[in-house]
């Protein structure tokens, strides 16, 4: 077995944690727990960014980690929780999800992502290169979650989880994008969540529910 540095090993563990959280989100029916899992995902992301920053001596990534901590661990889950309280849907859940099938599809996606990442990670020089496959798996799983769920809030959570995966991909292949770009991405995301919030109210006002099955009037007949 090849020996790896301690930092790399920790990174691998964190990456595995991200993947596990993604599957947890896939299997979780209750919206509240999903938000908690999202915050956890953000926390793991912060930890991994920080670890990369320390082990590769990249001061830029410290800011990146701080940004992640504030935005993904605190702000976004807080906004979502607040929204849910205001809308009175705290105990909401999505009961009609066939979880074992979803899990199997998810497993297939993981294999696909790992296969896809193989040629790329062999080119990378970062200490984190092997985790690219996991990042891609996290993205695809979030994608799957968005497809499989029918609630507006859940779709948003899937969207944010996908963003987390993208961020992880950026840190694992290239030590992160330049700071300005990252700020822009963070800003866009934040505005996006605000708009989501406005939407929730609009949808509820018009449909008395956040179930997206109601949003199926516009179809080709």
């Amino acid at each position: 077995m090849p020996t790896l540095t301690l930092a790399t090993q920790f990174l691998h563990v964190l990456a595995a944690g991200l993947l596990m959280i993604s599957f947890g989100m896939l299997a979780q029916r209750r919206t509240r727990s999903l938000i908690v899992l999202l915050a956890w995902q953000g926390a793991v992301l912060t930890a991994s960014t920080l670890l990369v920053a320390i082990s590769a001596h990249l001061p830029d990534l410290y800011y990146s980690a701080a940004l992640t901590l504030v935005e993904k661990v605190w702000l976004m889950p807080w906004i979502l929780m607040r929204l849910m309280r205001r809308l009175g849907i705290e105990g909401d859940s999505d009961p009609l999800v066939n979880i074992p099938t979803l899990m199997l599809v998810g497993l297939g996606l993981v294999i696909f992502a790992f296969g896809l990442a193989q040629p790329i990670s062999s080119l990378a020089t970062t200490v984190t290169r092997q985790t690219l496959g996991i990042a891609m798996a996290v993205i695809l799983l979030a994608f799957l979650m968005m497809i499989a769920r029918h609630k507006a809030v859940t779709q948003v959570i899937g969207f944010l989880a996908m963003e987390n995966g993208l961020f992880f991909a950026a840190t694992s292949t290239t030590y992160g994008m330049p700071m300005v770009i990252e700020l822009g991405i963070a800003l866009d995301l934040l505005v996006g969540v605000f708009i989501f919030g406005i939407f929730f109210f609009q949808i509820r006002e018009q449909f008395d529910s956040l179930d997206l099955h109601q949003l199926e009037a516009l179809k080709e007949d």
Partner: protein, 317 residues
Amino acid sequence: MNALALLSQLGGAVLAVALAPVLAGWVAQCRAWLQNRSAPPLLQPYRSLRKLFRKDAALATYASPLFRATPYVVFGTMAMAAAIIPSVTTDLPMARVADAIALVGLFATARVFMALAAMDIGTVFGSMGARREMMIGFLAEPALLMVLFNAFLMFGSTALPTVVEDILNTKGLMLQPSLAFAGVAFVMVLLAENARIPIDNPATHLEVTMIHEAMLLEYSARHLALMEWASWLKLFNYACIGFALFVPWGIALHANGPLALLFAVAWLAAKLVVAGAVLAVIETVSAKLRIFRAPEFLSMAFLLAVLGLLVHLLLQS
């Protein structure tokens, strides 16, 4: 093969048989404490056993010899399994012939006999319990095998003692993310296989939900005692497999002397105390799942184990 090794292997099995009721008692005690009930004494399982052994056995009129043989077979397989799990020492001369896959086979044998015996009498509850047990078994077994494969893949051996030795001989800290997946999956399998709370509740006899207890309804006296004892032993065995795979520290190595054995026993006791407490916590905080949700739970375990394999392949490449 020396005498000490043989002795220690035998000792390990005897220790397991002797300690298993204490572990069960300890878990029950912890659960009671966590749920604000007054706890039964730690040695309550022994008292139950003594009580049961003193009674006269009553058998159903149509019970076949299979029904009578089953308690001995089940207890025997569990004790045999205890002998080949490196709980105290890795110096197990007999373990060379039976690797971890054989271990899973032993568990399966016990399950088959129990299910057959439960259906033997022909009561409704017996066959219902047997059917449910087989359903859970057929889902849990591949998950357990996958967990074991994780370790096998990593250390290139299907023998548990070798795995333990490899882990203990590794210098420095080796963090294995895939083992984390396997660990979670293993705990889930353990809960399901030992009739613990999200899947089954050993403390009730509620017709709609019970699985394990439903199979024991027709047993009495010494047969029941053996069956109960065997199920405690199964929990003990599972705990020891978990220790061997995930926290093997303290297990005496091949080369260590007899003194290390004593230390190993102390370590084992400490780990059991912690594991029992953790198990009680898990059982207290989680709610029992409806039986139809059990496949979901176990497929999750299977999946995590497979993920562990995949992650291992990805990260070690």
